[in-house]
Symmetry: D2
Subunit: 364 residues, 4 copies
């Protein structure tokens, strides 16, 4: 049981890829907020499949319906729930393959975890499709954060072996983050961006797939968010980021690179800048002792290559208990990274909103 998350914002998600519907219940939203439905749509489109050649040609109707918690165009403060009906519920396509465990998918672990009763069609509850309601919730969180000036944005740091520069970790402005949001492949450098596209298209041609790294920034956060010992900013963001399918690594600030620095290189020296305290560098990624220091929060997320590939792979058939081979149907994303970007931003926004609400709860 783990479909609920949060302290001040409480999120429940549910659904299977080919079940009746997927959805989310969001409790703890402030009352009286007029949702920007166009913005929600635009965020959901960033995640939707079928937008271009880099993604799967499958079309999914990610049309959400708000069932509760929204009245006269305002949040009511009671649970806001939203569902997306699945339009394609055909089981037949999957029955033939249901006992063949796709490598690097959750087929086998899901089978064991749920004693063979899990909905295997299209990955079921493990499908990336379940992230659509997360993006819905994240769009609302982002909108609320934006009212406080807090902006979250990302670029693709690498695809396969193509890597571009990092953010300038001490100085990121709103306009850059907003510009990235609108890009099909959000990158800082067009040259590397083009190479990444090629890399993805090449993988598609090869019936193969590629992964990548997403670098995300959240700016204009107040100092003092975070609740040691266990609910640090890094802990709670890490928790949520690792819930996103395909994420295999998370690092803050200079992350793994920081491990090979000397203290004299890594330490972020402080200075006064007007009425603010800043640091000259930001190797700690905006978080010290688990608490925000007002510098940009920077984190990187490692996304593994799409597990579904057309190449032949060795695996097992749990019906026979024997070895077999599988070539997974090619209508899959050769690279999931661009579609994961809005999901990462969504879970980051939900987490940071949770912290912002908690901060208000302090007596002062």
């Amino acid at each position: 049981m783990g479909s609920t998350w949060g302290n001040n914002i409480k999120l429940s998600i549910f659904g299977e890829s080919h079940g009746r519907a997927i959805g989310v219940v969001i409790d703890g939203l402030p009352a009286g907020i007029k949702l920007d439905l166009d913005y929600i749509d635009s965020e959901m489109k960033r995640r939707a499949p079928g937008r271009n050649k880099m993604s799967t040609p499958r079309k999914e109707g990610d049309k959400y319906e708000i069932l509760s918690g929204y009245f006269n165009d305002r949040t009511t403060g009671t649970p806001l729930s939203s569902i997306i009906y699945n339009t394609n519920q055909r089981s037949r396509d999957y029955d033939a393959m249901k006992s063949i465990m796709r490598p690097s998918h959750a087929d086998y672990t899901g089978h064991v975890r749920y004693s063979g009763f899990n909905d295997y069609r299209g990955g079921g509850h493990f499908s990336g499709r379940i992230t659509a309601p997360l993006v819905f919730a994240g769009a609302i969180a982002k909108q609320i954060l934006l009212n406080e000036g807090i902006v979250i944005g990302s670029h693709i740091k690498s695809i396969g072996n193509i890597e571009e520069d990092s953010f300038n970790m001490v100085d990121i402005d709103t306009s850059l983050l907003e510009r990235l949001t609108k890009m099909e492949l959000p990158v800082l450098n067009d040259t590397e961006g083009d190479q990444m596209k090629e890399c993805i298209l090449k993988a598609r041609e090869d019936n193969d797939s590629v992964g990548g790294v997403v670098e995300t920034a959240a700016i204009n956060l107040p100092e003092g968010l975070g609740n040691p010992f266990f609910d640090t900013v890094e802990s709670k963001l890490g928790h949520m980021l690792f819930s996103v399918p395909a994420v295999k690594g998370v690092e803050f600030g200079s992350g793994f690179d920081m491990a090979s620095m000397k203290g004299s290189e890594a330490n972020d020296e402080l200075y006064i800048c007007g009425d603010k305290v800043k640091t000259y560098s930001n190797n700690n990624g905006g978080v010290l002792g688990g608490i925000t220091n007002g510098m940009p929060i920077i984190f990187r997320t490692a996304i593994k290559p799409t597990a579904s590939i057309g190449k032949s792979q060795r695996t097992i058939d749990i019906a026979t208990g024997g070895a077999t081979e599988i070539e997974v149907d090619g209508r899959h994303d050769p690279c999931i990274v661009p579609r994961v970007v809005p999901v990462i931003e969504a879970v980051a926004a939900i987490t940071l909103l949770d912290f912002m609400l908690e901060r208000k709860a302090r007596y002062e």
Copy 2:
């Protein structure tokens, strides 16, 4: 507020480095367990300072006292609490420096978070010293897991720029992990181990510090642990690992390297081995869809260099609001990595025990 963690095992930790005592309350432990006090001591010694030249010469009396939940040499099933009195509570040493914010420490963020009322002495609640009760709790968790054959162990993958081989991710045996536990500097290769020691001693000589990467394995776990969507094995381990002071990155299996692989390279193909399902490779680090697949769980943790260094650094004085410089007293660890290893294993053990207890709760 974030000092409590867990679903089936509930942990509360408390204390400040120079307060009266630090401690932990552990609820949810099975009743009737005879604790191996020698083992607990040995784990706590791995974390204790002053053991050798690579660590701080400070001596701390990490003598714990069990206050409750243990009767006639058995756990009672009610909350087991344990405290460690702080023997050195002198405030004077810190008063002079209390307004000078040490770079890369939580001095400034703690000051903001707690409105200036935090105990600043020796890092207060942010001190690495608070991890001693965690190691105590972790030793109990490790002992319970060991009864089920589950073993957790680590080696130091890198210190500064010195890096050694990784574990063989598909085949790790108990004896290796136990041998590592007993090493002063747990490494797979003596050559690199010696270089790491030199690297640490050099940093001490230079009034500087170094960080590193710890690679941890947990073996013999049953398949099927983990609770998607939000409470996956990676999410909960990630949450706890990022609570450990100085951790700036966490990756599972091939982690960030996986992002540059092709699907055909990264996917872990399955096969039947006796009555078990195994994978030829283990790039997913024993976790698929957030659920264990029975292969070793492998993760790597990036540890930043010790923030306290003797070199002069620019910072601010919050009493005057002006710029100043600081040279942090040299009686600190030039490298915290060896002492962090048992803490990482402790939080991993607590997390995995939580999952093991949850697994039992399933109706089958």
Copy 3:
């Protein structure tokens, strides 16, 4: 924020009386359970309005739709969600009255709590209608408990001033509880039952309403359920029971009467009965130290009279800030008690299932 409940079973409910839909997400259900849909229907009918003259003539389509977590006629183990569309969403009826605060309703407190943005139509999120998804979830919990022989049932102990006998607290059998479930007005004695009906019909005639007391029993529970200090059986049942609209009191065993007994009268003496430990009396209602002792769990719930009455009452108009009077539309239940019975049993079943799952999680 409080729409989520549970430790091992996690329940999220949402919806407003006249919104798009109401529903529930249930996480933590065992995988592989074939739901008895007829039984769920029968439970929901017990709560549904319009069944007889004792209830409101309003007809509501309590037709639920399962959206997830159920595949090939079995629970999958992932979140099971279910919604009920509201067929009557007309707002107009309520607009005229929206600023007139109905006495003893949540109109005013809801208005303040949600800063005026709550859905006021028909009570919105506070409507008794929201208990329909609870009954759905409770029916599933009851079915699972029944597989372990655990049965929950209730009779109406009193309506207005008409009171009947209590259960025999030491000896209640399954057939009695099942028989009560099938009764329109579940009582032990027909004479008092008839008087209760009259009392209700008289209240309707008078444009008034009456309340009552429900006495509930849960039998065949194992000994040893309950988690002191805070999560005792009484605490968690009390928590859930007080969430049910109109409940103003909860007592276990002899409850308030026990306060006027002497210890020598109240204490439940123990004896051995075959391989079981029993008590001669059951003033403690099956719970000692917050833990079940294997005797029937007995509790009584006080239900206040329906707040909506046709009689004229003094109140305020928050639009004008002035005094006014109100006669609430007569299409309401003159007595809500019979329809609350299945809700009480539902929350009891969910709570006890949560304890049963927790019990399994213990290492032994």
Copy 4:
């Protein structure tokens, strides 16, 4: 596992009556609060045994020691922990009796729940002694609430068959509640108070015990506290109150009496009083729809007679599996009610503080 409670304030309690120490960890306290240690002492004295002839002659050293979270006479905002060492840890007295289950105690249920490993001495974790740390935490909560003008107080509504008037539910002032706090036997009427004392002393003489009902009021609370659906004011107060040993019933406002009223009698009509909204009556006890309406919160708690009595009772010996008799040593309270009063107020204060903190977390 249930020793942790709370959303915004998190409480962990631990300890056994005759173990090394009992204690509490409180997380989520605001930083910067100077504790009124004299007030804490006075609250703890209200609970302490041995004050007069109505209580046990046992003397317990309830001298607490603050271990963390308090620095320079102010709360730090990090977990505040406090322990009380048990001065009397002798085991011998209990060994002879350990297999004889005392009726109406948790001896048998604790034995089953913890597989025979519970600390049986003096009730162990089930001892009323564990409420001492609760009173400590409650005194802090009360002090913080008092800063907002919120006052909690109680009188003893009945002892055995002696019953006095209730509070005037619509109008209770601070001075009354504070006066009650200082009374040995807090009652509204001296005549009934004297009779209650006699009743208690008579029970002592008879080697018997009596119970009673405590009526508690919390005044000056803001409107709008409470989080439906599950975390209503009544639910969370009910949860905590039922955790207090010996509590067998809880009712709000007119409670069980409300069940026999007509709607026209029970409904609390509203009026405007200056800039406030009030109700003419307060049968709902200050809570509607689970949310405070600004009227006094009123609740009554049924306390069962002390289980330990000197009279001979039938019970079982789990060592032999046979029947036996027991006369419990007479050094026990003939009536626990006066000592439970501060415990009830403490858990109420903690609960209401939790709500007050949550209220601040709302975005407005």
